[in-house]
């Protein structure tokens, strides 16, 4: 009898609480991503689409377990989306503006923007979640209380790629690179070259092409690569540059004469499909897209996204989703710790060192004093089967084999041979 009464009272309380929760103030989240310029197509708009889809799904409670609860701890998400274009100076101005209008900021694909925004977020004491930018410098060069990054940083792109390449082709003697001449391309090449040299000392670099960002045309560069005699060509190209490289390089035999590694090539899978020659090694900057494990959450995400937007989600969409899911998990953890309507400090405390189930697999906020996420990575090879591009021969790499340990800078860690 006592149990039934207790259960009934609990049920009433729950209903009242739920009612009260849904009647809570919505949480305004500013989402910053590229809506114009060359980064909009491959990353910005897929990310925005994911933000919009997931906000709606989370509010409706339609996300599968373990994220089935409605809203962020019951409160609805209200998105304010702004364009990341214009460079760091402009973005700092926009951030200051945005911070006055929203509770939380999620955003930033460009590493330059992330680096500029982080100290400003700290100054304004505004919880900010970086979801995509690659540079490891954010939490390796400084510490932040109010800034989190739910996406793994770019170090693991090229460490995993190097491991994969050498496992399958131990006789490689020379490498070449074609990367965009800006921080992303330079860092990617430096990481890959250092990783290859650490894993196989004595490997020769034939040429490192650094193309102007968005050049689009690579006639002379491809000629140089073809004449170089390198066994392998590495590229961290993305967007129009990547598509141009495949369109111009494949007919000329670039992919036959060399083993080509596209460390961030996953978004091109949907765009180029079977135009990507067989044998090309492709990375997705994490276990995203074709590398996502087959469980209910991932299947639901792929289907929901494809149904809404007619294209599959790419890694930008996955990372955007994980930012929202991580925030949601932090809210719920803070609530479990006793705060019915958690304030910012409580959310931050819950977020630090959080582990949650993201799309693509588990995410652990285990670097950067609990503010930087790590995930496993996966690399695969392209093969066209029956007219459709498949990713075969997938190898997964656990997070701690391809990410530096806490407190160790990525560059030094790679050079040391990935010492744990």
């Amino acid at each position: 009898m006592k149990r039934i009464v207790r259960a009934a009272l609990l049920a009433c309380a729950c209903v009242l609480a739920a009612g009260a929760a849904l009647a809570q103030q919505p949480i305004r989240i500013g989402a910053v991503t590229f809506l114009s310029g060359p980064a909009a197509g491959p990353f910005g708009v897929p990310a925005r689409n994911a933000f919009e889809l997931m906000a709606e799904m989370i509010n409706a409670g339609r996300v599968p377990a373990p994220h089935a609860a409605k809203g962020l701890g019951g409160a609805a998400i209200e998105l304010v989306i702004i364009d990341e274009a214009g460079g760091p100076q402009k973005q700092v101005a926009e951030f200051r503006n945005l911070a006055q209008r929203v509770d939380i900021v999620i955003g930033y694909i460009s590493s330059g923007d992330c680096l500029a925004i982080a100290p400003v977020a700290e100054e304004l004491r505004k919880l900010t979640i970086l979801f995509d930018c690659g540079t490891p410098r954010i939490f390796e060069d400084a510490s932040y209380k109010y800034v989190f990054r739910t996406g793994p940083h770019a170090t693991m792109d090229n460490t995993a790629a190097a491991l994969y390449v050498l496992e399958r082709n131990p006789n490689i003697r020379s490498i070449a690179g074609i990367n965009q001449n800006y921080a992303w391309g330079q860092d990617s090449w430096v990481d890959f070259e250092a990783a290859m040299k650490a894993l196989k000392p004595g490997i020769e670099v034939k040429t490192s092409q650094m193309t102007k960002l968005f050049a689009g045309q690579f006639g002379a560069e491809i000629s140089t690569l073809l004449s170089s005699g390198a066994d392998l060509v590495h590229s961290s190209f993305w967007g129009g540059d990547l598509e141009g490289l495949v369109l111009q390089g494949a007919p000329r035999g670039l992919f036959q004469k060399h083993l080509v590694v596209l460390s961030a090539g996953e978004p091109a899978i949907n765009r180029l499909g079977s135009r990507i020659p067989d044998g090309t090694i492709i990375g997705a900057r994490g276990p995203f897209g074709p590398f996502a494990p087959d469980n209910e959450l991932n299947r639901w995400f792929k289907n929901a996204f494809q149904e809404r937007y007619a294209v599959p989600p790419n890694y930008a969409s996955y990372k955007a989703t994980n930012a929202l899911l991580g925030l949601k998990a932090a809210y719920e953890k803070a609530q479990k710790a006793g705060a019915a309507s958690p304030n910012q400090d409580q959310i931050i405390a819950a977020f630090e060192n959080l582990s949650f189930e993201g799309v693509g697999g588990p995410v652990r906020m285990s670097l950067g004093k609990g503010h930087q996420a790590v995930m496993d990575n996966a690399i695969g090879t392209a093969r066209t089967v029956g007219g459709q591009l498949q990713i075969v021969d997938v190898k997964r790499y656990p997070a701690d084999t391809i990410n530096p340990p806490e407190g160790v800078k990525s560059e030094a860690w790679i050079k040391s041979g990935f010492k744990k």
Partner: protein, 286 residues
């Protein structure tokens, strides 16, 4: 520091660069490479903190124009010979060369740039969280002084010679004055102003990156100059503030078409206020 203060701080910094452009335009020249000095000013201020470990705001504010003026003193020797589009393109070329050098430099963070922090000002420690307010206040004072100084300069005989050069350079030569010298001095002054603006911008934003030397940044300065008109030394600041506000509003209310919004606004201003925004003020006064 609130969003409004930040926009004003940036407007002051950019206004300084445009002030230099105003001086050059009054001499009949348009520079598409002020981004070079803006970037030099920003980076020299930032490098003091990053490399030399000097976190003093006052020194940074001095370093910006000093470095810019030093480089301009050399480049100006060449550039002062050129006019019109060739002056514009050559100045653009130099700014793009600096851009290339900065992008190549992994030590300087390439296109990601790096952050700067200033902890003291002229030796006095700054309250944590209040540094930007202090720099803003300082920038207001310095901008006022510099603007007044330039106003006096333009009214002086050197300034009038500049205007004469814009009207008819050949006659000025025939009258015995050295056009080259005037252009050179004006170029160095404009560069110093841009460097000062760069230092202030770096302090306001807390971050430097090579985008400041890219040609689109220089083009933005030229646009702000036309927007305000060359009628008065206050016009650059007015139009810089308006431009920043315009861009923020366009981004906020039309994030998908902010470029178009900006373009239409530009056309409207050019068509209906050909003398720049300052003519609005002038009309009211008259």
């Amino acid at each position: 520091m609130s969003a409004l203060e930040f926009i004003l701080a940036l407007a002051l910094a950019k206004g300084l660069v445009v002030l230099g452009l105003l001086l050059l335009m009054r001499t009949g020249l348009v520079s598409f490479g002020q981004g070079l000095y803006f970037g030099l000013g920003a980076y020299s201020a930032a490098l003091l903190a990053h490399r030399a470990g000097i976190g003093d705001g006052a020194l940074m504010i001095l370093a910006g124009p000093a470095c810019a003026a030093a480089v301009a003193a050399v480049l100006g020797l060449l550039l002062a010979r050129y006019r019109e589009i060739f002056f514009a393109m050559l100045s653009l070329a130099f700014s793009m060369i600096l851009y290339g050098m900065l992008v190549k430099s992994a030590a300087l963070g390439s296109t990601d740039g790096f952050n700067l922090h200033a902890k003291t000002f002229a030796g006095i420690a700054l309250p944590a969280g209040g540094e930007r307010r202090v720099f803003f206040a300082v920038s207001v004072v310095i901008v006022a002084i510099v603007t007044w100084a330039l106003h006096r300069y333009l009214a002086s005989h050197w300034g009038r010679r500049s205007a004469a050069i814009r009207d008819n350079e050949l006659r000025v030569e025939y009258l015995g004055a050295s056009v080259y010298r005037v252009v050179y001095v004006n170029y160095v002054i404009a560069a110093a102003l841009a460097g000062l603006g760069g230092a202030f911008a770096a302090l306001a934003v807390g971050h430097v990156d090579p985008e400041t030397t890219y040609w689109t940044t220089s083009g933005e300065f030229v646009f702000i100059a036309i927007l305000g008109g060359t009628g008065n030394v206050l016009a650059p600041f007015l139009s810089a503030a308006l431009f920043e506000a315009l861009r923020t509003v366009a981004n906020q209310y039309a994030p998908n078409v902010w470029q178009m919004t900006l373009g239409v606004a530009m056309l409207a201003i050019i068509m209906f206020l050909p003398g720049g925004l300052w003519t609005l003020v002038r009309r009211k006064a008259a």
